[in-house]
């Protein structure tokens, strides 16, 4: 291979994000999106704080969120292109991957300063 391309890397991030979203998100939504807010389960705050502060949790969270954001960015970019037939290729790509990048940086800051 003489040339290096960006698109395959973005696709790999999309794929990785797709896998982790498929495997991790259902339980996370059930727990943190529904069960806890609705009071069906009430984990102790100190316990939650301990789990979230643990270095491995922070690392995994960072990895998951970065992959999920890039999964959204890649898929959404193509949805705008094919579904809504918006042809501004570069602005859309910059907006989508840019947002994912910003979100990833914010996540990095959060897990480092927890």
């Amino acid at each position: 291979m003489t040339k290096r391309h960006l698109e395959p890397i973005l696709w790999l991030l999309f794929s990785g994000g797709g896998v982790v979203s498929a495997v991790f998100l259902p339980i996370l939504v059930v727990l943190f999106g529904l069960a806890i807010p609705l009071g069906l389960v009430q984990p102790d705050y100190n316990h939650l704080h301990a789990v979230v502060s643990y270095w491995l949790t922070r690392l995994v969270l960072l990895g998951l969120v970065v992959l999920m954001l890039f999964h959204w960015a890649h898929r959404f970019r193509y949805t705008l292109h094919d579904g809504l037939q918006l042809r501004w290729e570069t602005p859309i790509a910059v907006l989508c991957y840019g947002a994912a990048l910003l979100g990833s940086l914010a996540t990095l800051v959060i897990v480092l300063t927890l």
């Binding site: 291979m1 040339k3 698109e7 395959p8 890397i9 696709w11 790999l12 193509y78 292109h81 094919d82």
Partner: protein, 247 residues
């Protein structure tokens, strides 16, 4: 079963500003007739000017692809009676320019197919005198499915990306590239990768999967494309990781 069924067939004669119209024809509804038989009845007995492509009438030449009730089908492999009592709409394949009536312009595909070099590529000069290539049945199984493509282009008609993005190389071409990449006799992976790793290659595909659903030969072009994406991504990562001298 009723005596006849109405076929609503697209007519188009090329002229500046002309648009396609629909003509209705009543054809006999025979139990064993295909859509193609119905069209041939129209041409033989009702309107000799109706133009359409067909050849083998047994689902192997790939010539008779058309939209039947909005679905890309081989008209020789689709029974008229499946649409009884009718009417049944017959239109030219989606996503291709119409030349006349049900005949579409397939030049785009004819240009794209050789770009992926769908033939055995080797750098040695073996000839027939040197003997046969040896290949086990297992090695044949690896690519056999993709070799069943009859170039009927139903997959291009089904693919919304091809409709929206005319530069997209398309399902059949990529499936055929994969067929040769997986053939142990071939050594041309790199050359095909150079073509397919570009923007109009595999990356435009969003795995809608409709191409696989309409394929009359169960080639599974969607599967071929996703496998190719993974292969291309792996090669690309190697290109990033390997030292400069190796590129």
């Amino acid at each position: 079963m009723a005596d006849s069924i109405q076929m609503q067939v697209t007519r188009y004669a090329p002229a500046p500003g002309a648009v396609p119209t629909v003509a209705n024809y009543d054809v006999p509804l025979r139990k064993d007739w295909s859509i193609l038989d119905g069209l041939n009845f129209v041409k033989d007995h009702i309107d000799g000017s109706l133009s359409f492509r067909w050849s083998c009438r047994m689902g192997i030449c790939g010539s008779c692809g058309m939209n039947v009730e909005g679905q890309p089908q081989l008209t020789c492999a689709t029974f008229l009676s499946d649409y009884a009592p009718g009417p049944v709409r017959v239109e030219p394949l989606t996503n291709f320019p119409i030349v006349r009536d049900l005949v579409v312009d397939i030049d785009d595909f004819m240009e794209k197919l050789p770009r992926v070099k769908p033939w055995i590529i080797r750098d040695d000069d073996v000839t027939v005198i040197d003997g046969e290539y040896l290949q086990t049945p297992e090695e044949l199984e690896e690519y056999k499915q993709f070799s069943n493509c009859i170039n009927c282009m139903l997959c291009y008609a089904a693919c919304p990306i091809y409709g929206l993005e005319p530069e997209f190389i398309g399902p059949a071409a990529i499936a055929l590239a994969e067929r040769y990449d997986l053939d142990t006799r071939d050594r041309g992976q790199r050359e095909r990768l150079d073509v397919l790793i570009e923007k109009e290659g595999v990356w435009g595909c969003t795995f809608v999967g409709e191409c696989t659903r309409v394929c009359p030969k169960h080639v599974d072009p969607a599967g071929a494309i996703q496998r190719y994406k993974l292969k291309a991504a792996q090669e690309n990562v190697m290109a990033f990781l390997l030292p400069r001298a190796a590129r």
